[in-house]
Amino acid sequence: MPDALAEAGVRPVSGDPDAARAVLSAADVGRVVDRMAHEVLEKTRGAGDVVLLGIPTRGTSLARRLAGRVEAFAGIAVPTGSLDITLYRDDLRLKSPRALEATDVPSDGIDGKLVVLVDDVLFSGRTVRAALDALADLGRPRAVQLAVLVDRGHRELPIRADYVGKNIPTSLRETVHVLLTEHDGRDAVLLGPAAPGRDGGSAS
């Protein structure tokens, strides 16, 4: 179970996907990622010193897609990697210890770079907080930005995203499912009722 998703109240297809309705179609997801890539290029003035670090597991895939689009649009190969934040979570004591996901930092490191953290859903902000701590132990970036496919609101920390694919106002009783071809066989963003016994709003 990808922790970042769990934290965001997102359950990939589990929950009750039949009851969920599509907020973004596959084509929408593609368009949104294209737009985000353009925004990164624009806001970072050509992405010269950008490193894209995805938060596993879907964040990592999104980071790779963004890099692919940036290269397609501007001919620049942006280093990408993944950053597992499990060991930095503030809710470790609430559950059994979890298996770790890969942390894979590009060989040139992150010192002096502009790191863009990439995640699928921004919810309470706690995942991003943990990611910032993890990042600090890996090096000293010039600046850190945040890109998310969906911002569903309900922040519990003073954190905001620099690049947002789509703002989806949600109720705490709802769950956001992000599906990506790499993991789920298709691209979509679904909005559905919280899984039984689980309050979609309880940012874990």
Binding site: L92, P97, L100, E101, A102, A136, D137, L138
Partner: protein, 339 residues
């Protein structure tokens, strides 16, 4: 609820794989500038060492510190333990200090199991008598997987004083869980009665086994085994010369190994006895890696035991028991049914 790591047998295939995978990720920490994670902040880990072992104690200490746990080193020497304080008294003291885990090294087999009944936290066996040393087996497995890419199907040969080796016991158990084929090689006097029931093959002939081995693990042979205080009649073998001639990994024997075979040793080595210096320092040798891997594996164990609300690996709770012994299940009538 699971709570302890007392024996390699406490780990299922899933558990063991989880430890190795976790260690793999944690190994990166050792390569960073900031070699520290906040994961166990506020947790207290006690290193309770009744036997000298700078190597193992330091490894556990570093592992706990890299995860930001508070570490107390409680060594038997210079403490009240050497003044006749019982293990139980020590346990009660540690309990009062609020330790979350006790890493114990003890000269009596089973001492960690005894301790587990007297404290509420997790107990990690860091070597008990001639019983087990599960984290050593985990780091050995980790080293094999790193070097050879897999464990399942590997031919692992463990050579030496199996009878008295906690490393051998834990390795046999863990490696069989992970699907390796283990062969024990030793003079018959250094193999325990009952070894035929272990999940391992047995041979007395090192030369016959070496060419088929992917991994050769040499165990330390203590000179005391030639008879305590010069008591020759209780010796397990006639002389160190004869031992190293028949069971030592010398340069000639190392040539018989397959190209990518590796040579391991849990340390400390007796160079020239069970292993020739040229072999110990050669390219096949993983002896230095084993030490580094030890820290990662112990970090993984501590994280998986202490990092969450409840341990993710380990032995079932044996029950917390300060007064009377735990009752046994009544036997079926007329039949001896040991609990």
């Amino acid at each position: 609820m699971r709570r302890h790591l007392l024996s390699a047998a406490d780990l299922s295939l899933e558990d063991a794989t989880l430890v190795l995978d976790t260690a793999e990720e944690l190994a990166q920490v050792s390569e960073r500038t900031v070699k520290k994670l906040p994961t166990l902040r506020g947790r207290t880990v006690v290193n309770l060492f009744f036997e000298d072992s700078t190597r193992t104690r330091t490894s556990f200490e570093l592992a706990a510190k890299r995860l930001s746990a508070d570490v107390i080193n409680f060594s038997a020497k210079g403490s009240s333990v050497s003044k006749g304080e019982t293990l139980k008294d020590t346990a009660l003291t540690l309990e009062a200090m609020g330790s979350d885990a006790v890493v114990i090294r003890h000269s009596w087999s089973g001492a960690p199991a005894n301790l587990a009944r007297w404290i509420r936290g997790s107990v990690v066996n860091a070597g008990d008598g001639t019983h087990e040393h599960p984290t050593q087996a985990l780091l050995d497995a980790f080293t094999m997987r790193k070097r050879l890419g897999r464990i399942e199907g590997l031919a692992v040969t463990i050579v030496g004083d199996v009878l008295h080796s906690r490393v051998a016991r834990s390795n046999v158990l863990l490696l069989s869980t992970l699907g390796a084929d283990v062969t024990l090689v030793a003079p018959p006097t250094l193999l325990p009665v009952g070894v035929e029931t272990w999940p391992a093959s047995v041979s007395y002939d090192l030369d016959a086994v070496l060419p088929k081995s992917d991994v050769v693990m040499m165990l330390r042979v203590q000179r005391e085994r030639m008879g305590p205080s010069g008591e020759k009649a209780t010796a397990y073998f006639p002389s160190s010369r004869e031992y190293s001639r028949r069971y030592g990994l010398d340069v000639r024997r190392a040539l018989a190994l397959a190209d990518d075979a590796i040579v391991m040793h849990p340390g400390p080595m007796v160079r020239g006895m069970e292993i020739a210096p040229e072999v110990a320092d050669g390219v096949r040798s993983t002896i230095v890696e084993q030490v580094a891997n030890g820290v990662s594996v112990r970090m993984a164990v501590l994280y998986l035991l202490l990092g969450g609300a409840a341990p993710a690996i380990g032995a079932p709770d044996v029950g917390f028991d300060l007064a009377p012994p735990a009752p046994l299940t009544p036997p079926a009538q007329g039949r001896a049914t040991p609990a």
